[in-house]
Amino acid sequence: MNENLKIKKLYALSSENRKFSFSVPLKNKIRIGRRDYVVQLKSDEKYGTYILWKNRKYPVEIVRSRQNKYEILFNDISYTFTVETPFSLQRMKVINSTKGVNEQESLKAPMPGKIIDVLVREGSSVLRGEPVVILEAMKMQNEIQSPVNGKVIKVSTKAGCNVMKDDVLIVIKVE
């Protein structure tokens, strides 16, 4: 029983649903075609953390990590992955199939104030915790963050607007 649960494979799932699989224990090698290439994670004073791959240094930065989600800035491009085990991948399929119609989340103003900036547009993809609106209240600029991963389907406010508590600012389709 223990052996079955031992994680032998991990999958990194990109936000665009591309799947990269790696065997565990994770090797410092990546196979392309028939050749293995060595990949190393290093860091030094000047460059900070970087990946050494085929003699080139790629700057990397871990922008965010939350549970099994990682946002990585790699060579100036951000990638978001969730790392899944075979079981959690299967679980994800089960849950997605039973979820049915996608839910919506309305983002409301937590207190009265003035909208300084709207950081997303209709159609933008947002991640949980990503700031979407800046609200000035109590003489402070507050970031209102998306509570879910999803797509913005409605923006019902704009910069300069005064809002009351619980006014709906943005509607996000949960994904």
Binding site: M1, N2, L5, I7, Q67, N68, T82, E84, T85, F87, S88, Q90, R91, M92, V94, I95, K99, P110, M111, E136, A137, M138, K139, M140, Q141, N142, E143, Q145, P147
Partner: protein
Amino acid sequence: MDLSGKSYRTFIERQEALKKQFSEKQAEKQHSKGKLTAHERISLVFDSGSFEEIDAFVTPADQPVEFGKVDRTYGDGVIVGHGKVNGRLVFAYAQDFTIMGGSLGVVHAKKIAKIQEMALKMGSPIIGLMDSGGARIQEGVASLSGYATIFQNIIHSSGIIPQISVVMGPAAGGAVYSPALTDFVFMTSHTSYMFVTGPNVVKEVLNEEVTSEQLGGAEIHARKSGVAHMIYDDEENTILALKKFLSYLPSNNVENPPMVIDDGATPDINEKLRDIIPDDPNKAYDVKDVINLIIDKNSFFETSELFAGNIVTGFGRLKGKTIGIVANQPKVLAGVLDIDSSTKGARFIRFCDAFNIPILTLADVPGFLPGIDQEHAGIIRHGAKMLFAYSEATVPKITVILRKAYGGAFIVMNSKNLGGDFSFAWPTAEIAVMGPDGAVAILYRKELAESKNPAELKKELVKKYRDKIANPFIADECGYIDEVIDPAVTRKKIVSAFNALSNKWVKVPARKHGNMPL
């Protein structure tokens, strides 16, 4: 060895019968819901091969059942035992949904009570992995009394050993109080829920349609009710996090928290700390950036992350030693103290105090949240919890004032006269009775009203107020704070202050217990 003797034969038969009871089919059923079986969960929690199960062969209470039927299974739907987690003794029970829906019968309850008592005797943490339909109706009031025993045990152990609940399936009715009474509640998204009355009752009584998930899903409890402290997307991640979480906690209230060997990867002096506070005093920043630069690299474990985000609570390590962190979060609601953040902070502080975990407070608080709903809902009473908790705590307490510390909120955030051991301030700190705008409006009401250019005058007065009053230097000169420090050396200062406090002892007057304003 010859195992063909009669007694051995029975022994082997029983073993085989037990094995048979947990068939592939049942496991498959659990898997098809995206859930693991109780055995699988146990083996994920404990170091491989270390779990020792007890009472595996007990059977349900042998009493006449007048209504429905009780399956005569081994174990009565719960696995109990002990083992090692990261090498340390931990007790656990795991309810098995595949056996009578994990319902709690008399024997089931007795098993849990037995392991609870053992954990208390040994002074070891206990984990409950919950996945149960609730009290076993067939066994009637006897199963209810089982719950009562379990609650009584939890309360007895509270503050002596860490008790953690992991809700991985339903928990309804009275069953919810078992996790609610423990120190921390973990939940798994989409497959776990907790509620006192379920959707059916809500429909009958109030005629409102609501799903289990909407009523008491992990998401709701993590975000709105604050019942769940940590939620994860799947069970494996939940358990991985649980194991990590345990590594911060001591086994009991006499021991100190465990140590991690300090790899020296975190610089003691970090100039990046100087850049975090924006020049504009009204601009927000993320206090977690400050936390992550002060404590050991990657050691922050946030609790109740999604609930009352205006206060950040969590565990971290300082040179390998566990500390608890309480910080105002300017990024959310400007970091104000409101009802939710006060209760969240207070409960966290009390946990740290009970288990000898020193507390680091990072203050940047514009005040209490004004408003009718807050006042009417009792911000006075709830804010008092935070005061009470800070003042009552006898563990080492250090405060760093990063920026705003105005009025009552300054006092609440572990000020020196409230029993804070060390109080530091960054040069960006503004310590005063109230913010510049408010103060100017009160003290210069007449002048402002008579001025030809009130906006200009106000700007000038605000600047003067900032220079003269709202800074850390006056408080420093009066001894209300111990030192104004360069943000870059914050870690170094805190490490040496906590070292100085490592033998701190405060004699508390003898009493049954204080009367916290609950």
